[in-house]
């Protein structure tokens, strides 16, 4: 996963990265923001080329369970 600043995350939320695909920044267990390799490598939207070019991969630790009943997470 590629790590984002909070400002970068809010820049990308809801924006199209390639036809019919929308960025979905997510927070990990520490509250840090990330997007996926598929989004970085699949981006065809020139508006975000510079932002994505500066990103680096970092360890993503999934957030804890929200306690859904029945689900083993």
């Amino acid at each position: 996963m590629y790590k984002l600043t909070e400002e970068q995350a809010y820049t990308l939320i809801g924006k199209i990265y390639t036809k019919d695909m929308t960025f979905n920044p997510v927070q990990d267990i520490n509250g840090d923001w990330f997007i996926s390799p598929e989004e970085v490598e699949g981006n065809t939207n020139w508006r975000y080329d510079d932002l994505l070019a500066g990103l680096e991969k970092a360890e993503y630790v999934p957030p804890k369970s929200q306690g859904f009943i029945g689900l083993q997470n």
């Binding site: 960025f23 996926s36 598929e38 929200q66 859904f68 689900l71 083993q72």
Partner: protein, 283 residues
């Protein structure tokens, strides 16, 4: 399909034989012409545009022959290999939320094998809301072709502690876990499932819920029905409409939803239709 008499049916051939109008509407939306253009060249899934039209025409005919077209509200056959071709609803191929056209988010892989989640942030919003679109007798299903233990293949859940849950974990460890539009704190399904691959189908009539894998009945339960008023996501859960969670990395080749509790024979008919369709696409 062509009815050749004596109960024999043959596939329609392209180039001159009229297509079902629903085939034409869907394939025009997908933007694949009915001609000899080759897709996925050099792969085991190589197919022409005409081949796609034949496969979709056969699928629609089989659903209609089973008497289920009018009960169908959405079928996502995932053909064409891109987010733009995979978003369309076979039943209503308009580019509208109201037509249950999928919106895609995050890191999903779209290719000749359908759609694969990434287990971290990829999902699709079907815009199908249980409380308004499948409230009452209903069925839903999907086909998975990768054998992985993962999180939610689909879901819409409201009120975490005691509310309206609809979700499926096709295989979490060695269990299939599901809730079929029901009150979660009084019941849900857990049944052994050691291989993810297959056709999954869930039917509900009033408070009776059945689950099938391929044509085998896995469970027949009773629990109070309840329908969330937030849309169903695929490859993740929609949780209280505040975001997606429990992303999966399943490879789905199709999803379908009905406003009817399918009978055992209708489950078999739909599974046969889907398997015939997927065989035509060699996936």
């Amino acid at each position: 399909m062509l009815n050749l008499g004596l109960g024999i049916k043959g596939k329609k051939l392209g180039g001159g034989i009229p297509r079902d109008p629903d085939t034409t509407a869907f394939m025009n939306a997908v933007n694949i012409p009915d001609n000899g253009t080759v897709y996925y060249s050099g792969t085991a899934q190589e197919i022409t545009g005409r081949g796609f039209w034949d496969a979709i025409d056969g699928l629609i005919t089989d659903i209609k022959d089973a008497g289920l077209w009018s009960d169908l509200i959405a079928f996502y056959p995932f053909i064409g290999g891109t987010a733009s071709t995979h978003k369309w609803n076979l039943k209503d191929p308009r580019d509208l939320n109201a037509a249950f056209r999928i919106d895609w988010f995050g890191g999903l892989t779209h290719n000749r094998f359908g759609v694969t989640g990434n287990a971290t942030n990829g999902y699709g919003n079907t815009h199908i809301t249980p409380s308004t679109d499948i409230n009452g007798s209903n069925s839903f299903g999907f086909k998975v072709i990768n054998n992985v233990s993962s999180k939610a293949i689909l879901g819409s859940i409201l009120n975490f502690a005691s509310g309206e849950y609809m979700y499926v974990y096709a295989r979490s460890g060695t269990n299939l876990i599901a809730a079929q539009n029901e009150i979660i704190n009084t019941g849900y399904l857990v049944v052994t499932n050691n291989s993810t691959n297959g056709n999954y189908r869930f039917t509900s009539a009033s408070n009776n819920h059945k689950a099938y894998k391929d044509n085998s009945l896995l469970a027949n339960r009773t629990n109070a029905a309840a329908f969330a008023n937030i849309p169903i996501y695929i490859f993740a859960l929609n949780t209280d409409n505040v975001g997606a969670a429990d992303y999966s990395n399943h490879n789905g080749v199709c999803f379908d939803f009905y406003t009817k509790s399918l009978t055992n024979s209708e489950v078999a008919d739909i599974n046969t239709a889907i398997n015939t369709f997927e065989t035509a696409l060699n996936r």
